[in-house]
Symmetry: C2
Subunit: 279 residues, 2 copies
Amino acid sequence: MEATEFVIEILCTGNELLSGTIVDTNAQWISSKITDAGGCVRRITVVGDEVNEISSAVKESIERKPNWLIVSGGLGPTYDDKTLEGIGTALNLKLVLDNNAVEMLRKSYTLHGLTTNYELNHTRLKMARIPEGSTPIQNPVGSAPAVLIEIANKTTKIICLPGIPKELKAIFSENILPQIKKSISDFYIVRSFCETIGISEAMLAPTLSSIVDMYPSDSVYVKTHPQGYTSDNKPRLRIQIISKGKDRSKVQIRYSNILNTLIENIELLGGKINSNVKL
Amino acid sequence: MEATEFVIEILCTGNELLSGTIVDTNAQWISSKITDAGGCVRRITVVGDEVNEISSAVKESIERKPNWLIVSGGLGPTYDDKTLEGIGTALNLKLVLDNNAVEMLRKSYTLHGLTTNYELNHTRLKMARIPEGSTPIQNPVGSAPAVLIEIANKTTKIICLPGIPKELKAIFSENILPQIKKSISDFYIVRSFCETIGISEAMLAPTLSSIVDMYPSDSVYVKTHPQGYTSDNKPRLRIQIISKGKDRSKVQIRYSNILNTLIENIELLGGKINSNVKL
């Protein structure tokens, strides 16, 4: 196997994601960071703010044994922030008031100059009640600490991140991504998007099949995305190309070969390439 | 129970969703339509273009017995369009060339004036190979037909929609949403977003708890979304209010009561309401 198989699952919690009130961008952002680091996001699950729903989703994920389960949302002080309760239920862990987490909350409130009117009452301390044996991580932007859960004899590390994108991004970039990168070590990826006119998905399908058959399935990815038709009824297509692996020169050679094969076949089929943009 | 419990699950397929290349907007769009119709989206799952992944996700969903499972993506002609194969594996149904689906493809190509160079070859006919006993639905925008699968003795209806948003929206609005609305019948919903300054999520948490305790859990939904701080370090908060149910006047009275309770408590706590926008 050329590319590493470091498997990640993402679990997003929040009724607002299931009612269509909010477009979830957290899962997409995390997925793109994981992919760039050489990891593989195997599944994304979205459930509502219910203990049983969260607990089932966590149990099911752990049974699939990913290296990490990244959970987003539900760490705040309100009645519907139930992520830690759900995880506690799934793993049979009690929620306990964690002194380090209390100190992190205190630090967060001080950081925002919020000392008066911001005593650590019952509601706020909810954010410091975490599954026994887990590790809180300081939230440098908001208040609720992230929570890292490592269970003996289990493959999967669980990290619970706050759902607010600025907070999630800060903690993930500073604390989690470096750990994931370290586990994966050397990894290279080239991605591009190629825009074409005059060629349909079906016309190019045999070319795509022959390309992917030439390489290990985890080292290349070529996909066509139909973009409708031009005013004179010519199909527009966007082609995504990914080459990845541990050997930088192999990754680059593979990418060039794929691009050349595509260019050749698109021209043969009477299509035109408008642009190829590397990401 | 005041609001109906008509449960829907959504399954999105596509490696591009797991690599963070694309933000999935289909699930959010479907969820918002379902919520407005009075249905309840219980879970959203995203898996890659692999038969086993799709098959497992479909089996797991059916075991949870939602009324509908809405599947998005993977109906096209390319090697990685594997949704129907995955569903066939999950339900033990063979894929068979469906004459109606072939006619639909022919109609789609004619519609776009694509008659020359667009013979129905093996690659294109892949889109007409559907699980035995299922029903194809004409795609009025693109080519791949949608596929409706109703299994005897199973609670769950499965609808497979093309992943391209314009195509998905057209078929869902014309063919599926009317069926779902008919099953749910009378339903009313009032939604709004209220913007406040000077009040934190933790300060308002007890008010929220007392509001939700007053009503059946499926008839109201109140959630705070922290929006950071103003330049003079005052917390900004967005409050989402939903009141829903089968009795229009009860829905409206509940909404007004909740809003009044919020206004009263926010002012008592020294906060300020900037706006309340009904959606």
